[in-house]
Amino acid sequence: MEMVMGAPAGGLEAAGRVPGNRGMWVGILCELTEFALMFLAYAWFKQVHPADFHHGPAMLNTASGVWNTVVMLTSGYFAVRALLAIRRNDAAAARNWLVATLAGGIAFLLIKAWEFSWNIDHGVVGTGNSFVAMYYYLTFNHLVHVVWGCLGLIWAILRTSFGAYSPEDHDGLEAAVLYWHATDLAWIVIFPLLYVLR
C-alpha cells in the first residue's frame, strides 16, 4: 500500500510506510464501515419518521453534546502531541500527553454517563421514537469504541513508561493514537446528526 505521510502528525515519516500497523488499519476501516452503515440507517429512518427526527434534537441536552465534541477533539490534539514528543525522543513528555489523552477519554465517558442520566430524568428513553432509538444506537456503539480506545491508550502509556518506544520504533503508540483519531472522526459525524440536524 502506497503511503505518503503529511505534516504534522506524520511529518517525519518516509514514503511507502503504513502508519501504526496494518492490523490497526483493518480495525479502523471496519469501524468506519460499521458507522457508515449506521449513518445510512439514520438517513433511512429520517425519511420514514421525519417528525421524530425534526423534533428529536430539541429533546437532547445540546451542551453535553458540545462538551463531548470539544473534549474528544482536545483529547485527539493531546494524542498528536504525544506522537510528536516520542519522535523527538522525549518519552516522559509523550507519556504525559498520553495520560492527558486518556483523561480526555474518561471525561468523554463521564459526560456521556451524566447525559444518559439527564435523559432518563427528562423522559428521553428508547421507546416509541425512532430518533431516540437511533440516538442510543449510535451513542452506545461509539461509547464502546471509546472504551476500546482508552484500553489501547493505557497499553501505550505503560509501554511508554517502560521505555518501549523510540523515535525509530513507536508503531504501537502510533497505532493507539490512530485508533483514537478514528473514534474522533466517527463522533465528528454523530454530533451534528443527533444534536444539530433537524
Binding site: 425519511q47 465528528i188 433537524r198
Partner: protein, 95 residues
C-alpha cells in the same frame, strides 16, 4: 499556553485544534434553529467535511496525494457529508 515556545509542527497542530473547536461551536449555534433546515443541512455537511479532512490530514498525518489510505479516508468525508446533505434536504422538503 506556551504557543511561542512550540516548534512549527506543534504550533500548526495547535491552530488546527483551535479551528476544530471553533467549527464545533459554529455547529452548535446552527442547532439553535436560527437558519432554515436546508441551509443548516448544507452548513453542517460543509463543517463535517472540513473537520474530517483536518483530522485526517493534521491529526492522522495522511496528507500525501498518492496515499491510497489517505484517499479512502478523504473519500469517506466526501460521501458522508453528501449523505447529510441529502438527508437534511429531504427533511426540508418534508417539513
Amino acid at each position: 499556553m506556551k504557543i511561542m515556545q512550540m516548534d512549527g509542527q506543534e504550533r500548526q497542530v495547535t491552530l488546527v485544534w483551535l479551528g476544530l473547536v471553533a467549527l464545533t461551536l459554529g455547529s452548535a449555534w446552527l442547532g439553535e434553529g436560527l437558519a432554515s433546515i436546508g441551509i443548516t443541512a448544507a452548513l453542517v455537511a460543509m463543517i463535517v467535511a472540513i473537520k474530517g479532512l483536518l483530522v485526517i490530514r493534521y491529526y492522522m498525518g495522511l496528507a500525501g496525494r498518492g496515499s491510497r489510505l489517505g484517499q479512502v479516508m478523504r473519500l469517506y468525508f466526501v460521501v458522508v457529508p453528501l449523505l447529510i446533505l441529502l438527508a437534511g434536504g429531504a427533511g426540508a422538503v418534508l417539513s
